[in-house]
């Protein structure tokens, strides 16, 4: 029987789960909603469900590699989730490549599913989504982890296994590019963008 209110750090729970595997469910209870929410925002409802489930199975398999001195498992879980999300998209990419092959003559209007085209969005949301989509994967991962996971610079560095300085530089670059995309002629003065004002004021 697993005590779900067991008030000990994640690291200790994971350590105990080495000998008592069912204890790992405490980690699931503590963090599933957050990981699922992050993945659903990035990939949509179905991808969120599939990859979130895979994330906790993968984390269970890798639990003997978790540094138990780290109290919080969130960075570790977000890192696994992000990697699995990319793997999922690579697999999906095969499907899209098939579609591309079928669409070679451009006479077919079938549009493959894309991670960010699922909602009818406002003009600003659409532009924001395009701006994020135009980032490279590395910059996008840092930006969205920062915006959506609540992780600190250090924790993002931990999640992605990169130096904290790289997190800062990628985040700065990503933010600048998004800002520029939202209003190309204003550099950092995003608030003066007429498009921005129309959509946020209205």
């Amino acid at each position: 029987v697993v005590n779900r209110d067991w008030d000990v750090p994640d690291g200790q729970v994971i350590l105990r789960s080495i000998d008592e595997p069912e204890v790992f469910e405490v980690i699931f209870d503590r963090h599933f909603d957050a990981i699922h929410g992050y993945l659903a925002r990035r990939g949509g409802k179905h991808v969120g469900e599939v990859v979130a489930s895979e994330t906790f199975c993968a984390a269970f398999d890798q639990r003997d590699r978790f540094d138990v001195k780290r109290g919080d498992a969130r960075p570790w879980l977000y890192g696994i989730a992000t990697n699995l999300l990319h793997r999922h998209w690579r697999t999906e990419g095969r499907r899209r490549r098939v579609d591309e092959r079928f669409r070679r003559d451009r006479s077919i209007e079938q549009v493959p599913a894309q991670p960010h085209d699922r909602l009818q969005a406002s003009q600003l949301d659409r532009e924001l989504r395009v701006a994020v989509d135009e980032l490279n994967n590395a910059d996008r991962d840092v930006l969205l982890l920062y915006a959506w996971s609540g992780l600190s610079y250090l924790e993002i560095a931990d999640a992605l296994d990169i130096p904290v300085g790289t997190v800062q530089s990628r985040l700065n670059r990503a933010r600048a590019r998004v800002r520029h995309r939202l209003r190309p002629d204003a550099n950092t003065q995003v608030r003066t963008s007429s498009t921005f004002k129309e959509n946020t004021d209205g």
Binding site: T91, R104, R175, R191
Partner: protein
């Protein structure tokens, strides 16, 4: 409001908690943990799937396979002293000997094309419905001399609308041991699978791939041109392309056409397109006709295919076709001479799909008739 604040409110609703998703994920985790505990004593990584690439009827088998391991373990505990078993995984029986090299398939494919051409067009309907059976293989290794292998049949029903929305129901059957050569065990396994029961997944618009079947050319040359990789067109062979994929680029033409045929079959393919496809395949010199067989659903069929080692191991790819109607009844892949690192004894069937029913229907409450 800066860009971070804007991002934080973007798609907030998508991050809402989902009790259903959490329940399903918890079940999957529990099955995964149970499977790992059982497989751990010897080899944790034992051939849960031998197929090199996923196909849609098997995509949702993983949790079910994990659960099956528990059954195998219980059997081992309750029935001690079952004796040593060879360390080979059970695989489905062959439908025909692989020593049969067949004969050139050009004329057979032309006859199949003519048969398909005579069939009526599929009825109209909002949803493309397909029901197919596939299988998963799980091997639990307790020690070097004690191996438990089971075949887990799975059945998938799928309704796809043209906007990419739809519904999928997947059910796993009872594990079956590899029976004596012949199709009876497979037919029973398929027949025993529940109809309309199983794990239900709904897909929002754009989440399911809809093959552009209506737009594909009904001319064999044009169809080949469309389906075969065209180097230097910004496609899979162009290293600068977004869709660069050397694996696809290096595939022989026969493999490319076979894969395309499989990928189109997320719905029932209209007979006129099948006829065109068979004529396009007839241009491939390595296509062989292997003669008449009985398929895994007990239907009279003819097998056409080719041998290839493009994926690393010598493999026979077979299309199972109704000789009277040209309807594609199934696809099979068989390792012929070299198992590589897989613990199967060659020749070994490593994957199959049986198409059981298909057609267009008005709603997800309706099903198209069984393919006779």
């Amino acid at each position: 409001m800066d860009e971070i604040a804007l991002l934080r409110r973007l798609d907030e609703d998508a991050a809402a908690e989902s009790p259903d998703a959490k329940h399903a994920a918890r079940s999957a985790l529990r099955a995964h943990i149970a499977a790992q505990q059982i497989a751990a004593p010897a080899h944790r990584d034992v051939v849960p799937r031998v197929s090199a690439r996923p196909r849609w009827p098997r995509l949702r088998l993983v949790a079910a396979i994990a659960a099956v391991v528990v059954v195998a373990a219980v059997a081992a505990v309750v029935l001690p002293g079952r004796g040593s078993r060879p360390a080979y995984a059970a695989t489905p029986p062959l439908l025909m000997p692989v020593s049969d090299q067949g004969r050139p398939a050009e004329r057979v494919l032309e006859r199949l094309a003519a048969a398909a051409e005579e069939q009526p067009a599929l009825a109209d309907g909002r949803y493309h419905y397909l029901k197919a059976a596939g299988w998963g293989l799980h091997t639990a290794v307790y020690d070097e001399d004690h191996v438990e292998s089971v075949i887990v049949p799975g059945i998938t029903e799928q309704w796809i609308a043209d906007d990419g929305s739809g519904l999928q129901i997947h059910a796993s059957g009872e594990p079956v041991e590899a029976g004596p050569p012949g199709a009876d065990a497979d037919r029973r396994a398929i027949d025993d699978l529940p109809d309309g029961e199983g794990e239900i997944t709904e897909f929002a618009p754009g989440e399911m791939w809809v093959p552009p079947i209506a737009s594909l050319p009904r001319d064999p040359v044009a169809l080949r041109d469309k389906l075969l990789v065209n180097p230097g067109d910004g496609g899979p062979c162009d290293a600068n392309s977004d869709v660069y994929d050397p694996e696809t680029c290096d595939r022989p033409e026969s493999v490319q056409l076979y894969v395309a045929l499989e990928e189109l079959h997320v719905e029932r393919v209209p007979p006129d397109l099948l006829a065109t496809f068979y004529r396009a395949l007839a241009e491939e010199p390595d296509l062989r006709a292997y003669g008449q067989i009985t398929d895994r659903a007990g239907r009279r069929a003819i097998a056409v295919g080719f041998d290839s080692d493009y994926a690393g191991l010598p493999t026979r790819h077979m299309m199972i076709v109704d000789p009277d109607t040209g309807t594609l009844l199934g696809l099979e892949e068989i390792l012929t001479t070299d198992p590589g690192k897989l613990n199967v004894r060659v020749p070994a069937v490593i994957s199959y799909i049986v198409y059981l029913a298909g057609g267009n229907v008005a709603s997800t409450d309706e099903r198209a008739p069984r393919i006779p």
